[in-house]
């Protein structure tokens, strides 16, 4: 019983000591330590900025930039295909164009021109037409 009483008193004394320790538990930060911690913080922030700046330059060449501006390689592929088709239609005999896949059907359904009729216009001279209009 006496032991329990002693224990209780010891713990009360200990709690009083803890209370005193709490009052002194948060010391003032020395100025030098504060400066060192803030210098670390600034150095750390600078290191992130250095990484950001060195990562910024775009190493892609002008061709890659052009492709990017046109909407990527998919768009460029479509553009090239359309250009080649137009060029081929332009320099080839129009009749040959009818042999192009898909072209024949469209032409058959939507135009009334025959090769012969088209041939009649081949010799048509723009200057003659203009001259007729002026009369």
């Amino acid at each position: 019983m006496a032991d329990h009483q002693d224990d209780k008193t010891d713990f009360e004394d200990l709690d009083a000591l803890f209370a005193e320790a709490r009052d002194a538990a948060t010391p003032e930060l020395p100025e030098a330590l504060m400066s060192a911690i803030l210098a670390d913080a600034a150095a750390e922030q600078s290191s992130w900025q250095t990484v950001a700046v060195t990562a910024r330059p775009d190493r892609r060449g002008p061709l890659a930039l052009l492709v990017m501006a046109l909407g990527g390689w998919g768009s460029v592929g479509g553009l090239v295909a359309a250009s080649c088709t137009g060029l081929w239609i332009g320099i080839a005999d129009p009749e040959a164009a009818q042999w192009a896949p898909g072209f024949t059907l469209t032409a058959a359904n939507s135009t009334t021109f025959s090769s012969a009729a088209y041939a009649a216009y081949e010799t048509f001279d723009l200057a003659t037409v203009l001259a007729e209009d002026l009369q």
């Binding site: 008193t9 010891d10 948060t26 020395p30 913080a41 992130w48």
Partner: protein
């Protein structure tokens, strides 16, 4: 005016705000210094640990996962681990208790200050006799006044283990200080 949380300040810091670093240091570093001084029993080592713990906070800032842990809890955990590292490195050497300065309280009288200082030295000496984990648990519970679940999170153990450590630590401290009551200004009974 609502004060920004530690986490909000850490995010600001990660976004390049220098003022946030100052505010976080003002709020957290003194607590880290206090607890490290108690755990290590050496002010110079505690200052090194404080700088190191804060540096780790600066480094984690860009990768901080919001809502996962409280900044202060994370910092306590880092501090405790750094203290263990310091003790491991110093194992075999002696602990310099004279290196623990107790700041004088200008409001108290000289005799009272001396008495209080003697009591705190005695407490510190008794704390240093405890095993490392017991000492950490007792300091976090009774001086830092953290809850058992908070301490469990910091020390990465169960709440029951915290209770066991603090109970054993307190008993050992009471025993160590029992014979020094007169010296410390406590009356028997």
């Amino acid at each position: 005016m609502i004060e920004a949380s530690d986490e909000a300040l850490l995010i600001l810091f990660a976004n390049g705000d220098g003022g946030a670093a100052r505010e976080l240091t003002r709020r957290l570093a003194p607590r880290v210094l206090g607890v490290a001084t108690r755990v290590l029993g050496n002010r110079a080592e505690a200052e090194d640990v404080t700088q190191d713990a804060m540096l780790r906070l600066w480094k984690i800032a860009p990768d901080w996962r919001s809502g996962e842990a409280q900044v202060s809890t994370w910092l306590y955990r880092v501090t405790m681990n750094l203290c263990i590292d310091v003790k491991r490195k110093a194992r075999g050497g002696h602990v310099d208790l004279d290196a623990v300065p107790e700041p004088p309280d200008p409001a108290a009288g000289a005799a009272e200050t001396l008495q209080e200082s003697a009591r705190q030295d005695a407490l510190q000496q008794a704390l240093m006799t405890l095993p490392e984990r017991q000492r950490q648990a007792v300091i976090l519970r009774h001086i830092e006044e953290l809850t058992n679940p908070e301490i469990a999170g910091i020390m990465e153990i169960t709440v029951e283990a915290v209770e066991s450590l603090t109970a054993r630590g307190k008993r050992s401290l009471a025993k160590a200080l029992a014979g020094r009551k007169d010296e410390l200004g406590y009356q028997d009974g």
